[in-house]
């Protein structure tokens, strides 16, 4: 069950750049060539924002982008951050030249599909994070992909050109109706699923708030489509040591068991998760 990939490394990464997107969101670029070279779409890193005991623990972040130099060699990763607590505030305010301990890449990545299957990515808020690398990977395989992207308001729909440049079709929603369709992102997803011929394959990928993941997985299953969902849990270590990040997942015996989202996930089959 456990995905085996390159061994994670722990590096002191320089803060290469910090792009402020809004009063809550930023993109932090961390110089970590070893991690950039090994990371697969959907994998994450554990970041220690400060150096002392407070805040104490690392926090998990999806790898948002893999940055390369002119020769094409991976040099850095970026993370998409939303300021909600002490660690995310340190990451929001991080300055060029600071260093952070970054452990990764960790976890089981998305499994990309191949044509003629289409990839439908469903992102809510900061759940956009794993889809930039997935979209690039799918594009390289010639897979046609669509991003269903929902946010609270139009100003919080970020990096749209990044996805347009990757030839990703965009379906946008906002909760206040200030951009795209008014409402939740699952509504247009469901309409498209209903309209798609049964013999035209599609894989649904999702990352975002738990309620959105549950709704997306349920809608996909109802329309007979597989889904891969990237779950978010409070995580202590990222390596399987602490057992804090568990998700109830249906096992071979038909019963639900707690699996560690850091090892078995964070990407899990949507139809096998019990959403409490």
């Amino acid at each position: 069950m456990q995905y085996t990939a390159a061994m994670p490394v722990d590096v002191w990464a320089d803060v290469v750049a910090n792009y402020t997107l809004s009063s809550d969101y930023n993109i932090l670029v961390l110089g970590a060539p070893e991690i950039a070279a090994a990371a697969e779409p959907g994998q994450f890193v554990m970041v220690k924002a400060g150096t002392g005991h407070d805040p104490l623990l690392r926090r998990p972040f999806s790898v948002f982008e893999v940055l390369r130099n002119e020769g094409g060699a991976p040099t850095a990763i970026s993370i998409l951050n939303k300021r909600i607590g002490p660690t995310t505030t340190l990451i929001y305010t991080a300055a060029h030249g600071q260093r952070m301990a970054v452990l990764g890449p960790l976890g089981r990545p998305f499994s990309p599909v191949d044509p003629p299957a289409e990839a439908w990515m469903v992102a809510g808020g900061v759940g956009l994070a794993p889809f930039a690398t997935l979209a690039a990977s799918l594009g390289a395989r010639g897979v046609r992909s669509t991003l269903f992207y929902g946010a609270r308001r139009g100003q919080e729909l970020f990096c749209l050109n990044l996805f347009r440049d990757l030839d990703v079709d965009l379906v946008l929603t906002t909760e206040d109706g200030s951009a795209g369709e008014h409402g939740r992102v699952v509504a247009p997803l469901e309409r498209r699923l209903a309209a798609r011929p049964a013999d035209a394959p599609v894989m649904v990928y999702a990352c975002g708030p738990e309620g959105m993941l549950a709704a997306t997985a349920s809608v996909a299953t109802r329309h007979g489509r597989p889904s891969q969902v990237s779950v978010e849990r409070v995580m202590g270590c990222g390596l399987g040591g602490c057992y804090s990040c568990v998700v109830p997942m249906r096992g071979d015996d038909g019963r639900y068991h707690h699996v560690r989202s850091c090892l078995t996930g964070p990407v899990l089959p949507g139809d096998q998760i019990r959403w409490d």
Binding site: H53, L57, D276
Partner: protein
């Protein structure tokens, strides 16, 4: 320079043990950490059967610490022997198995099964998990309960047994003595401090079990004090733990009276902490010209403080 320490009949190559509940079954770390370089690996607590544990959220960060209520999720003793022990042996880890029970008979049964397995160095008796009602805490909070469970396990195993004590009692040293009287080879302390964190916006507890165990640097001075008190009370070795985050912290526990130490929460923050801890201890010994680390144990000098106190 000799870093080895002695826990009953067991010699550890150095005093550093990965703390139970903080290092999975050890195999999770085998590719990143040379398990053979550790004094010991205390694996996650095992009951006779599998357990699912509590729902998430199971942890929340606190000032210089964390609160957890995992609920002793585990694969059960037989699956551990079949699925995890072979790799731990292949990696030449010194395996300390943390055992749990809802009844005295279950402790005995788990201990008996592990005693028949090859490649286990010691048993740590978990009589102190604060997070489940039947996780041994009913033994660990009663002196007769502690005596009874240690005695019962003593009768069925020749392996060194190390009861892990809870700090959630008035006088932890009396529990160390009850363990010693019952035939324990050592005691380990402290398990976590029962604690609570509330989200004031939702007015809900931050973890699903409502309350949980506090660990990390925040608890270290209390744990050091408890190790010191136990050192005054019992002759058996003490395995000290509680918030160790660097070599200085580990040395502090040893000076207070711990023969070996366990590191838990800090391993979450830095999974590559082990060689750093060993380097720091070696540097200290060099600086103080101490040839054997074991000679440091319990050497805290309280006399000067007493004199100052009297003369002031």
């Amino acid at each position: 320079m000799d870093l080895s320490v002695q826990i009953g009949s067991l010699t550890l190559k150095n005093p550093l043990i990965a703390a139970s509940g903080c290092f999975g079954y050890g195999v999770e770390y085998a590719d990143m950490v040379d398990l053979a370089s550790l004094g010991g690996v205390a694996v996650k607590g095992l009951f006779l059967n599998e357990r699912e544990g509590h729902p998430a959220p199971r942890i929340v960060e606190t000032p210089a610490g964390m609160l957890n209520a995992i609920g002793l999720q585990g694969i059960g003793v037989r699956r551990f022997i079949d699925e995890k022990l072979p790799e731990l042996r292949a990696r030449q880890a010194t395996v300390i198995v943390n055992i749990c029970g809802t009844t005295l008979d279950e402790y005995v049964e788990v201990a008996r099964i592990l005693s028949d397995a090859e490649g286990i160095a010691a048993l740590e008796l978990n009589i102190s998990c604060p997070n489940i009602k039947e996780g041994g805490i009913q033994f660990g909070c009663s002196l007769t309960g502690t005596f009874d469970v240690v005695s019962a396990v003593r009768r069925v195993t020749k392996l060194p047994i190390i009861p892990k004590l809870t700090p959630n009692v008035t006088d932890v040293a009396s529990f160390a003595r009850a363990s010693e009287d019952a035939g324990a080879d050592a005691v380990s302390l402290v398990n976590t401090f029962l604690a609570m964190v509330i989200d004031i916006e939702s007015r809900r507890p931050r973890i699903s079990n409502v309350v949980g165990g506090l660990s990390g640097p925040a608890i270290r001075p209390i744990a050091v004090r408890m190790v010191y008190e136990c050192r005054q009370t019992v002759k058996i070795p003490i395995v000290g733990m509680g918030g160790i985050a660097d070599a200085r912290d580990a040395l502090e526990f040893m000076i207070a009276g711990a023969t070996a130490v366990q590191v838990g929460t800090a391993n979450f923050v830095d999974p590559l902490i082990w060689p750093k801890l060993l380097d720091g201890m070696r540097q200290y010994l060099e600086r103080h010209q101490i040839a054997r680390l074991a000679d440091l144990v319990g050497t805290v000098d309280t006399t000067a403080r007493d004199k100052e106190w009297i003369s002031s």
